[in-house]
Amino acid sequence: MPLLLLVARFPHRPAMGTSLAAIGGTALAGVAAYSFTGRVDVLHAALVGIPAAAGAIAGSALQQRLPTRGLALGFAALLTAVAAMLLLG
């Protein structure tokens, strides 16, 4: 995003859309790389990933209707708690 905004001087929305597409390409490359070492569990990816896509559509629709500030701070707290568990566990 900063690359597109500052260096290539993209407007904000095309920067978001373009970087999203680029991230997809990067993730795909990662999947390819890890496929060689057999690290990708396709079944679990589908079980978690396909509902996530449905959830993301719902989530972006909700964005306009929910007070996202409090939720964002709550989400940050959740991430911190999980990180703490991973660090200490």
């Binding site: 095309p14 680029a22 997809g24 390409g25 079980l47 990933g49 449905a54 989400f75 991430l79």
Partner: protein, 121 residues
């Protein structure tokens, strides 16, 4: 069966959070997959595949709005390839608990980014 339902429910929740905040939802995939019994590197690699349906759907939507400059996206993705290869090699070389701790630090970074944006929105 309950594990399948747990996976689906967790995936749905992660997706809603990703949709709400635009960042950070996918990062939940790794702890979820760990809880479902995958190893650290398997969880990380699998999460890269798991994020693709969400990214594909969101990219398509942005494309319909005219927000995707495909050539630039392709160039960015190609430029990231050496980094991807290097990162995967590094991750394969690290002991599992070191990788886990590094990932936890990444989660803290994402949490900080989300909190920062929320306070300054």
């Amino acid at each position: 069966m309950t594990l399948v339902l747990a996976a689906v429910a967790l995936g749905l929740a992660a997706g809603v959070l990703a949709g709400l905040f635009g960042v950070g939802g996918g990062i939940l995939f790794v702890p979820m997959l760990l809880a479902l019994g995958l190893g650290q590197l398997e969880a990380e690699a699998t999460s890269l595949l798991a994020i693709l349906p969400t990214v594909a759907a969101a990219t398509w939507r942005q494309h319909r709005y005219g927000n995707v400059r495909w050539r630039a996206a392709a160039l960015l993705a190609l430029a990231s390839l050496p980094g991807v290869a290097l990162g995967a090699w590094a991750a394969e070389s690290l002991p599992e608990d070191a990788l886990r701790r590094l990932f936890a630090l990444l989660m803290l970074g994402v949490a900080a980014q989300i909190a920062w944006r929320a306070r300054h929105a």
